[in-house]
């Protein structure tokens, strides 16, 4: 298959050897599960259970609120002991509303009454509904509710489904292992998505540093039909949706457009697997494969973890730490978030837990920019990070915006290649947040102004109407008077009533 050219990007050391040959281990249910109500993009879910209630594995804990939202299910059976604020899986560690389950050993499974049947008989709407009810979100880390992407705009049908098996972040091998160990299940998930979207074509794109996964998936694809498995060059950020679309279809998405706009839909391998589990064995999204790696972990491996397991318990399962890690990262090392401590839970979007040593993160001092231009060449978006960085140092957010910071995808390529270790991507994330704030304020003030203007106009209109009414009344009265005076004897001219 012909691949189309791309620009930018970097080739960080893959460092996948720690985990790519270890089988996925199933983690036993921990004593307590901490399940945040916000694990996805969009509105947080609303708790449906009370403290003290007994729940079964797979039972609904919290209902989705609105179109862009996802429900949350119990990863294990047990008792709700608390619905309180707990640290979120976020660098700030700020508290977020969390359901805490004290698990029991019984592993009672919540039985849905709906009969699964053959999912290929279901309509697009039915599949989307069931995926939505299972709480499935984008498993690559974006955590966008998947059901929304399964219901395309009828005027703009999807013709190509791309499954993202690139896993371009270093260390992470969870998708890799999933494809190696469960190729038929992943393939079934892909075919189900393709069926739901009625797409003509389905392409599974795997980076060429995952030969075993590619072989397994190709063998699986040969056993059924309709899914092309292709290899793409290993290059970060290959997993960026727009780059995948471009390398496979050759189309560059116009700024502001989503892949759906040109009839392409992108899902992740992990999402395909979750959709397979939901439609085939009726299990909602209550666990996921997490890569536990990094130099400070004793036994790096991939683990099938119940959602809500604390990082602490997960690392203990992997043999604990060999040394105090210099940094604890959730996600991949390029875009992952630094965790403040180990008491944060695994959420639906956690693809990896990395306990990195001092040597691995290589924290050098920040030096002055030497304008080498490596960041310009590396930027997959075509921005000039060094110029934007220089403006951010002068706190010139507006100047940074003029250089296009809002198009920045935060992939971190610029910071990675920077020989002066300037935290460019942090500058840009700050700028984007600041600009978003300003935009919101602007919208708010313009709305307020609009309201104020509307009010003035309305008052004016009312006053005018009143005046007209009054004038009419006065005229009528005058006429009446005139008639009256005509009827009697003519007197002085009737005074027009003062309108003001």
């Amino acid at each position: 298959m012909k691949l189309f050219g791309l620009r930018g990007g970097v080739h960080p050391e893959a460092l996948k050897h720690h985990t790519e040959r270890q089988e996925i281990q199933r983690m036993p249910m921990p004593r307590r599960l901490y399940i945040p109500l916000q694990q996805h993009i969009g509105a947080p879910a609303k708790a449906e259970v009370e403290v003290g209630e007994k729940v079964e594995k797979g039972q609904l804990l919290a209902r989705s609120q609105g179109m862009i939202s996802a429900p949350i299910h119990a990863p294990g059976s047990g008792t709700i002991v608390e619905i309180e604020e707990h640290p979120a899986a976020h660098p700030s560690g700020l508290p977020v509303r969390t359901i805490v389950i004290e698990t029991d050993v019984q592993e009672r499974i919540f039985k849905n009454l709906t009969d699964a049947g053959d999912p290929f008989d279901l309509s697009t709407q039915q599949i989307a509904d069931r995926v939505g009810q299972a709480g499935i979100v984008g498993m690559g880390g974006a955590t966008f509710p998947s059901a929304v992407k399964l219901m395309p705009n009828p005027d703009n049908p999807i013709h190509t489904l791309i499954i993202n098996g690139s896993e371009c972040e270093p260390y992470l091998t969870c998708d890799d292992r999933l494809m190696q160990e469960r190729p038929d299940d992943v393939l079934d998930g892909i075919r189900l998505i393709r069926h739901a979207l009625q797409a003509k074509r389905a392409v599974l794109a795997i980076e060429d540093n995952k030969q075993a996964a590619f072989n397994a998936m190709q063998a699986a694809a040969a056993r059924s039909d309709g899914v092309e498995v292709i290899q793409i060059p290993s290059r970060y950020p290959m997993g960026w949706e727009k780059q995948l679309v471009q390398i496979i279809t050759g189309h560059e998405l116009p700024q502001g457009q989503l892949p759906g706009g040109i009839g392409v839909c992108v899902h992740n391998v992990g999402t395909a697997f979750a959709i397979y589990r939901t439609l085939r064995i009726d299990e909602p999204l209550i666990s996921r494969v997490v890569t536990v790696s990094g130099g400070a972990v004793r036994n790096p491996q991939n683990v099938l973890v119940p959602i809500g397991t604390r990082v602490e318990d997960l690392i203990k399962f992997c043999g604990g730490l060999t040394e105090t890690p210099a940094r604890l990262v959730m996600g991949g090392p390029m875009m992952g978030q630094v965790m403040p401590h180990q008491q944060v839970p695994i959420v639906k979007g956690s693809s990896g837990i990395l306990a990195l040593t001092e040597h691995e993160i290589d924290d050098g001092p920040e030096r002055p920019c030497i304008r080498c231009g490596r960041c310009v060449i590396a930027c997959p978006v075509g921005l000039m990070p060094l110029e934007m960085g220089a403006r951010m140092r002068a706190d010139d957010v507006t100047g940074t915006e003029a250089l296009g910071v809002m198009d920045c995808i935060g992939c971190g390529c610029c910071s990675y290649v920077c020989p002066s270790k300037i935290p460019l991507v942090q500058y840009f994330n700050y700028a984007k947040g600041e600009l978003q704030d300003r935009r919101n304020t602007k919208i708010k003030t313009s709305k307020t102004r609009q309201w104020a203007q509307n009010r003035t106009e309305r008052l004016q209109r009312e006053a005018e109407e009143k005046a007209i009414l009054k004038a009419q009344r006065a005229a009528a009265k005058a006429e009446k008077l005139a008639n009256k005076s005509l009827q009697s004897e003519p007197q002085s001219e009737p005074q027009p009533e003062d309108l003001q």
Binding site: K200, E360, R367, R371, C372, V376, P380
Partner: protein, 364 residues
């Protein structure tokens, strides 16, 4: 100034740091440097050492004055590189005050006056070279014939010190003209190139560097070898040197075809070590060259054009330093106008038109 989370990602080792980049450039310059020292004897060694030491000293002084961390800045190697580049462009038997004053000018006026590393608009080494050339035209054009180490003609230890520190001018037998200078003078006297080159110009000999000239600029081949090493290591982009060399070669070729008796061949131009040093080591100074690849090609071609113009019609036989400085002044402009195209937008920043839909069936 915004405050940042000190734990800034990405959380992986990155490929190269400023000090290691500078170190690699210095390594790439070593063959040419050592050859220059071999060719011109101990006085050349004195010049190199003086330039390096004084560059480091002035760097430390400036950093101390503005109260930054001396060790962090000094050991990034940029000052040493400036000193070395300056030394390579000096006459090999230059007196000590040329080396020290030049390094001081390069580091203080060429770099720290603007705010230090990364802030200077002009290449410090070239700025110092031009300042020296304008200030001391006599000393800066006193070339010596090769007097290799271990040969009978090489000055001894004491003589070398006298040449460097006592400004003992080279003996008559040693003074010589560079090829470029000789050709320029002879052309000015109305001679034809075939007459000038007869007997005294051998391309291979010339590009190997066994000739009079600046300390490290005689051997075009050794400099080019260092440059190719840098390209191979990914320290510099090939666009800059190639565009400069190509534009010089194209122009020279064009004029050579028009009148071979007046305009020398492209190989004659390319075999000059100063051009090679400029193309591979001066142009590629990241601070003063454009950051985009298209900008670098424009920048390199502009330098090539200026070098050819100055060499052919200008007052000086060699014009690399002037050409580089003039184009350095253009760098902000080039960077402003030759930005890369942003993803999903046209060059003006407007969103691209929607692509025409080609369903996969018809595509293949």
């Amino acid at each position: 100034m915004i405050r940042l989370n000190p734990q800034a990602g990405p959380h992986v080792r990155n490929p190269g740091k400023v000090p290691s980049l500078m170190a690699m450039v210095i390594i790439a310059l070593l063959p040419a440097t050592l050859f220059g020292i071999y060719l011109f004897g101990l006085p050349a060694l004195n010049t190199v050492v003086l330039c390096l030491l004084s560059a480091a000293f002035f760097e430390a002084l400036c950093v101390w004055l503005v109260k930054k961390r001396i060790t962090l800045v000094l050991f990034d190697g940029s000052a040493l590189l400036t000193g070395l580049l300056l030394a390579l462009t000096l006459p090999p038997w230059a007196p000590w005050w040329i080396a020290v004053g030049g390094s001081g000018f390069a580091i203080i006026v060429g770099k720290h006056v603007y705010g230090g590393l990364g802030q200077n608009p002009f290449n410090p080494a070239m700025l110092a070279r031009v300042a020296l050339l304008l200030s001391f035209p006599l000393q800066m054009t006193s070339w010596v014939s090769p007097a290799p180490l271990f040969s009978a003609s090489t000055p001894g230890f004491i003589d070398a010190l006298a040449i460097t520190f006592n400004s003992a001018m080279p003996l008559d037998g040693f003074s010589s003209a560079t090829l470029l200078g000789q050709v320029k003078t002879d052309l000015g006297q109305g001679q034809t190139l075939s007459l000038i080159f007869e007997g005294q110009y051998n391309l291979l000999f010339h590009s190997l560097g066994y000739t009079a000239g600046s300390l490290g600029e005689t051997s075009a081949l050794l400099i080019a070898a260092g440059g190719i090493y840098l390209i191979w290591q990914g320290v510099i982009n090939w666009q800059l040197p190639v565009s400069m060399l190509a534009s010089v070669a194209l122009l020279a070729g064009l004029f050579h075809i028009i009148d071979p008796e007046l305009y020398a061949s492209p190989l004659y131009h390319l075999s000059s070590g100063a051009l090679m040093l400029g193309a591979f080591f001066i142009l590629t100074d990241p601070v003063t060259s454009p950051t985009t690849l298209r900008g670098q090609i424009l920048f390199g071609s502009g330098c090539g054009l200026l070098v050819f113009i100055i060499r052919t019609w200008g007052g000086y036989p060699e014009g690399v330093a002037f050409a580089v400085l003039l184009m350095n002044g253009m760098t902000p402009l080039i960077d402003h106008y030759l930005k890369p195209r942003q993803y999903g937008r046209n060059r003006r920043g407007q969103p691209l038109p929607m692509p025409a839909m080609t369903p996969p069936g018809e595509q293949s």
